[in-house]
Amino acid sequence: MVLAAGGFLVFSFHRANPLRTDLTALLPLELQDPARQKANELISRSLARRFVVLVSHKDEAQARTRAAELAAALEGTGLVGPIGEDFSPDQLKKLGTLYFPHRDGLLSPADREALLADQGQELAERALAQIAGPGVGADARLLKTDPFLLFPSFLLNLPFPATRLALEDGMLVRRDENGTHILLPAKLLADPFDLKVQEALVSTVNRYEASLKGSDRPALHRLGAVFFAEAGARKAIDESSGLAGLSLAGTILLMLLVFRGLRPLMNNLLVIGVGVVTGLSACLLVFEQVHVAVLLFGIGLVGIAADYGFYYTATAFSVGGKTPGQRLTGILPGLTMALLIAVLGYGALALAPFPGLRQIAVFSAVGLTGAYLTTVLWLPLTDTRKAPAHALKTLGTVLWLSRFWNARRWRALRLGFCAGLALIVAAGLWRVEFDDDLRKLQPLDASLSAEQAAIAAVTGLNLTTQYLLIEAESDERALQTEERIAPMLGAWQQSGLIRAAQSPAAYVPSLARQEENGKLRREKLAEPFLAELLEALGLQAGAISAAPEGRLELAAALDSRANSFLNELVLAPGLHVVTLQGVTDPERIRRDIAGMAGVKFADPTADLSSLLGLYRLRALALLALSLVVIFALAAWRYGLRGAARTLAPSLAALAVAPCALALLGYPLTFFTAMAMVLLLSFTMDYSVFCAEAKRETRPITLLAVWMAALATILSFGVLGLSSTPAVAGFGLTVLIGVAVAGLLAPIAAR
């Protein structure tokens, strides 16, 4: 079984890297709003694929050469599409070809306003001025097909994202006092959250940067989700391998110190190894992919599996020459009860609809069961040990320590300890703050943020993450909704609430709007003013070729792929996105659209934060539910008073940990709440071991409990050292809670 699981793991990792690094993979499946969920997914998928590199140099020729070299290097990876393809002259040609046959129904917003206000005369005069004026006037071919020059006006007013860049000889260029800047806009062909893709891309840019030597080298700046994801994953992996090393070394040292032998060490490592291998392979079997965070978390969690091994190994210290089988029988109820409670506790996690938590639940439940079975079936077979020479001395120490809870002379200290805990709770409770702001919990890489700011300063380019989601029964209806809110968007722009917006209807008006435009053009412009214009130009009416009345369908525009922005704004039939740039006051926007059917404001980071807040509440509710279930189980086995005693250490841990954290200045986040859910499972192990133990084996049980607590502190507490606040808060919660519960565990003993 274990071999099969191991084989499956090797196979899985060989076939494709199943590790995921994107945060969205951890997100809940059950959002209140499936449309928004889908929109978020689709948008992050398409936006996440875009990235840019800015090449700056004092000398323009140098900047161009280096930009071309880097573009070639990036394209050479095979992971990146042709660089700058959306900005090629070819793309402009495609736009013209798409729109021109449908010009009858296309009007720029200002021209439409003018016609609605009966200002056709002004448009006619503008046309004459353009025709006669310097440049701007078009050639005869255009005049005969569009005498009022409304088509160029429409094209020029398409809301392309405004930047300070200009297209010159196929490159996007800006010059300022620091020299020439060239922007390389690129699109990944592969998944930006695939670790291998990230590494290949980032190493290509890094290699190229390193190959440039001397004082004359250009400055490179990068911007894109792929770079942030790579930095985040690299940090997580670097940090966790450091922390994992620390925790493993500590655990091994602990085992060597207490058990003093290679075989107990090997046996316990076997228990942990089986837990990790079976847990991970079960996860892969069920989910096909595992998030890096789950892997790290799960491995730490299975460190708890060591509890079982420790408990069994500790029984070797008992005197009286019992066989391994007898020793196992002695602790089997405790082990089984602990497993039952742990699986129940982690089962509660599976109720939370976060894929990440479900992965943790499966990982832990299967991993712990694997560890339990290894302990029960395997350890007694390999165990040939007699009680070690230092057993009596070790147990004596444990016994001496445990007197703390019953010796009369320690009474004052006992009371002092409990009073201290009570004081922490009393002082901390008032300081508990809830904060689920994702930006604080998982801060972005500082140097990449600085590069992002540098690129924004030079180019005016910014990553958009806020948008309006338009939902309707059809594309036509969605376009009409967008046309209805267009004046509001204009007002927002005027008042500085947003800097710009891109709406699908601005690129392809609804059929109804095109029909209306055609009519306006005929009645308000052609009929009253065409004859006059033609006369001024010296053109015969017969020379004019009327615009065909065929309308432009959104689907046709999408198929033409003439405008890649449009394709990104239309997620599905009837599901559109209006991107908003430079939002200054999200609350105003929420207020302004409140009550509009089919229009929602989406701010994925803020949404995720409020979602985390919601799930923090749910996690705390799960915790309460678990407590009830566990209390019922304990009452059934130990009676009401016994149950209260058994739960006391856990309850103390759950009360002290968040209050102590609050005193240290940490807010209560979703991650703290999850840590508390797990804390209950960990600490119940200790209580159950103690409650199940007979009086004569109590020192052995306490030895196992304290080792388990120390191992947990080593595997989880070290997370408190992490530089990511979310992870640190998690680690500290477990550290404090386990320490408290470990110290209080003897209370649970009958």
């Binding site: 002259p89 402009l92 040609k93 004459l128 025709i131 004026g133 005869a140 010296g538």
Partner: protein, 209 residues
């Protein structure tokens, strides 16, 4: 169905460019405008469009302000003011802004201004990347012919430019690939150091926004 390229617009913008260049003193030996100096004059434009029996005529005055831009005031057939600056092109009809082509939207506009600056210093050579230059000098009179190196380039829809002058530019012809052409004549040009009128200053300021 003939498909029309939006590049017609860029062609138009480039035409402005040709005009700008031609409005500048066009010989290496002749005047170079110092920053803030003003060149004023009158123009007459005949635009020959294929399929139209007669050329579209317009006439008026121009003011070229070194370092700031060009104000092109058409008085006939009716009052129109076109201002070109580094920020782009702005056109007023009867005192109302009807066209605004920002350099940030029509990238060619910024290139236009770069080349415009070069042309101001009498540097026709800046055109050499796109045109073959042929000069002739007969006493005071000079002429120059620019032939496009890539007449099919949609971003540079100018086939040829012919310019002639004596001290200053007298006439320029811009020929497009479809043989439409503009012929511009200039009169009464004079270099001034005098300040701009308030109206001219306001035009340039608004156009530079």
């Amino acid at each position: 169905m003939k498909s029309l390229k939006p590049n017609g617009l860029f062609a138009a913008a480039l035409l402005c460019f040709a005009l700008l260049v031609s409005a500048a003193p066009a010989s290496a030996q002749t005047v170079t405008l110092a920053d803030g100096q003003i060149l004023r004059g009158q123009f007459e434009q005949k635009r020959y469009l294929s399929g139209l029996a007669n050329p579209v005529r317009s006439s008026g005055t121009f003011t070229l302000v070194a370092g700031r831009g060009l104000i092109w005031t058409t008085t006939k057939p009716f009052p129109t003011t076109t201002v070109m600056t580094e920020a782009g092109l702005v056109q007023d009809v009867k005192g109302k802004e009807t066209v605004r082509l920002a350099a940030s939207r029509l990238p060619i506009m910024s290139k236009l201004y770069t080349m415009f600056g070069a042309a101001l210093t009498g540097n026709w050579e800046v055109m050499q990347s796109a045109f073959a230059l042929t000069r002739q000098q007969k006493g005071q009179a000079w002429s120059i012919r620019l032939d496009s190196l890539r007449p099919d380039d949609p971003n540079l829809p100018i086939k040829a430019i012919n310019a002639r002058g004596q001290k200053l530019l007298d006439e320029v012809e811009v020929v497009k690939p479809n043989d439409d052409r503009d012929v511009l004549s200039f009169f009464n040009q004079r270099l001034e150091g005098a300040p701009l009128t308030a109206e001219e200053d306001a035009f340039l300021t608004r156009a530079q926004r």
